[in-house]
């Protein structure tokens, strides 16, 4: 009986094509395609890894997921009072609470992807050393778990927008989609690149921590674009400022959730501020360009990742 099983197995295997283990001599696009099909095979694992990350994060804590709300709410309170009330940003930005929270939620997604993604390969060292897997799956799982956390916070944001009577029927709401997409695209590109580099040079993880602190202030999250434009508007510094993809994403996100609100509009009118000065005039084109560049960057960083991953098992 086992003889039949043996012969069946032999017959089945002889019909299979050989799989070649890569030695980095594949063409630029063939390698990408091959690894994408590998990735597709492991999509269920990706889901499980995301769930593992979310579950393990707050396991054994009695408040559990509530913790993922506490941090952004604390930040909201700090910025609302310290900058909105004491420093007086409230006076030039109506509905400052929603303005800040919109920026914080989107920024939280980006920083979580960067910090979590950078550590993802090292944290899964046990698997990488012992099991053959498409390793891109680990930075992608970090992106996934950050995105799930973001969705929870986005629900809180949406509730706040409705509760304060700021929900309006306008097409501008759809700016939220490209805003999130930009963050995901650049986050994925950077996370996989930094994760791979971090294996070889552990300083990367500390560098990312510092960079995240600095980048936070380079996007209009606690101050408005109009304030920036009034200082550096029209100069080359403004072009540099707007070349930051996250800045464009934050501006698009604010235009979706904060700007159309009735209280925002009347507040701006009372201040005598034109609402269209809250974002650059060519925002649409900037969004499209940023997404196009981001897509190329994802591909490029994936190529670099594939090149670097051959030695992961020894370098970790």
């Amino acid at each position: 009986m086992t003889d039949i099983a043996r012969r069946e197995r032999a017959a089945r295997i002889s019909a299979l094509p050989f799989e070649r283990v890569e030695t980095h001599r594949r063409g630029l696009f063939a390698g990408t395609r091959g690894s994408l099909s590998q990735l597709w095979k492991f999509r269920e694992l990706l889901g499980l890894l995301v769930r593992r990350e979310l579950k393990a994060k707050y396991k054994d804590s009695s408040l559990g997921f509530i913790w993922s709300f506490i941090k952004p709410i604390m930040l909201l309170l700090i910025y609302y009072f310290a900058i909105g009330q004491f420093l007086g940003a409230q006076r030039s930005i109506p509905m400052f609470g929603i303005f800040v929270f919109a920026g914080l939620v989107l920024w939280g997604l980006y920083s979580e992807i960067l910090v979590g993604g950078t550590m993802s390969i090292l944290q899964n060292a046990a698997l990488i050393k012992k099991v053959s897997l498409p390793r891109e799956i680990f930075p992608l799982a970090s992106v996934g778990s950050a995105f799930v956390n973001f969705l929870f916070q986005a629900v809180v944001l949406a509730v706040a927008v409705v509760a304060f009577g700021q929900a309006t029927a306008t097409w501008d709401v759809f700016y939220a989609i490209p805003a999130v997409l930009i963050v995901l695209v650049y986050g994925t590109a950077l996370a996989s690149l930094l994760a791979a580099l971090n294996v070889y040079l552990r300083d990367v993880q500390y560098l990312v921590d510092v960079a995240v602190l600095m980048l936070f202030w380079l996007s209009p999250i606690v101050y408005s674009y109009q304030m920036v434009a009034s200082v550096i508007g029209g100069t080359w510094i403004e072009s540099v400022y707007l070349a930051n993809p996250i800045t464009v994403a934050v501006l698009a996100f604010q235009r979706a959730v904060w700007l159309p609100g009735p209280a925002t509009q009347t507040g701006l009118a009372e201040l005598g501020v034109d609402p269209t000065t809250m974002y650059p005039a060519d925002l649409d084109i900037r969004i499209i360009i940023m997404l196009a560049i981001g897509a190329v960057l994802v591909w490029l960083s994936h190529r670099i990742f594939l090149r670097l991953q051959g030695n992961f098992a020894q370098e970790i």
């Binding site: 086992t2 492991f42 499980l48 991953q309």
Partner: protein, 264 residues
Amino acid sequence: MSPSKSEAVAEAPIVVRLEDVSKHFVVRKEKSLKERLVNFGRSRRHREDFYALRDVGFEIPVGQTVGLVGHNGSGKSTLLKVIGGIITPNAGVVERRGRIAALLELGAGFHPDLTGRENVYLNGSVLGLSRQQIDDFFNSIVDFSEIGDFIDTQVKFYSSGMYVRLAFAVAVHVDPDILLVDEVLAVGDEPFQRKCMAKIEEFQREGRTIILVSHSSGQIAEVCDRVIVLSHGHLVFDGDVEPGLQALADSFTNPAPTSTEEHA
């Protein structure tokens, strides 16, 4: 090789094929960033290529049980990882087909904070099973592991024996065509080891290909029908078990330092 054996080999399809596979590691002598910067231009002088594998090539047909042996640092674990796709070789061709499962470490990827059940799904998925397959195998996995009601307990509360049993149970349910085993059979108590060996024999009867790294000549003699001996990254013997173990003994007494090449 006896003529009857090579005949059997000739008709069996090949599952693993290696051709001139080499893997070298760069061993840098200076460690700190400062030293690297200072010696930037002359850094070639400060690096040393260590060849873990050098021009290794062989073919393994379906259903064979191959023992990879050699002294410590001979490159056998590296070779196993190259076959498993965990390490990319620097040169050469590695081809394989069929589902491959690597038992390089039992429970790699178990997350201590998750329950046994969650880890079965995670680990099964890591080894390439679909959710549906794990659902189907789940009871059988739990039975084999003898974990019982502890399956819904977090893995960090398991004893090391329970941990290993559960991991082994998942791995043997992957239904591999090629099973890579690295020393893991040396863990667990005696009944469990017997269970492992029984499973290996069952795999052999089912015509699965097994590639085994072991330091135990007794184990090799018991289960393998072919031995590959490595010494300093070179393949020094490939053939039947008895002369293979003799060649292994020779490589202990007669280490070949000529094969460790250092790039000046």
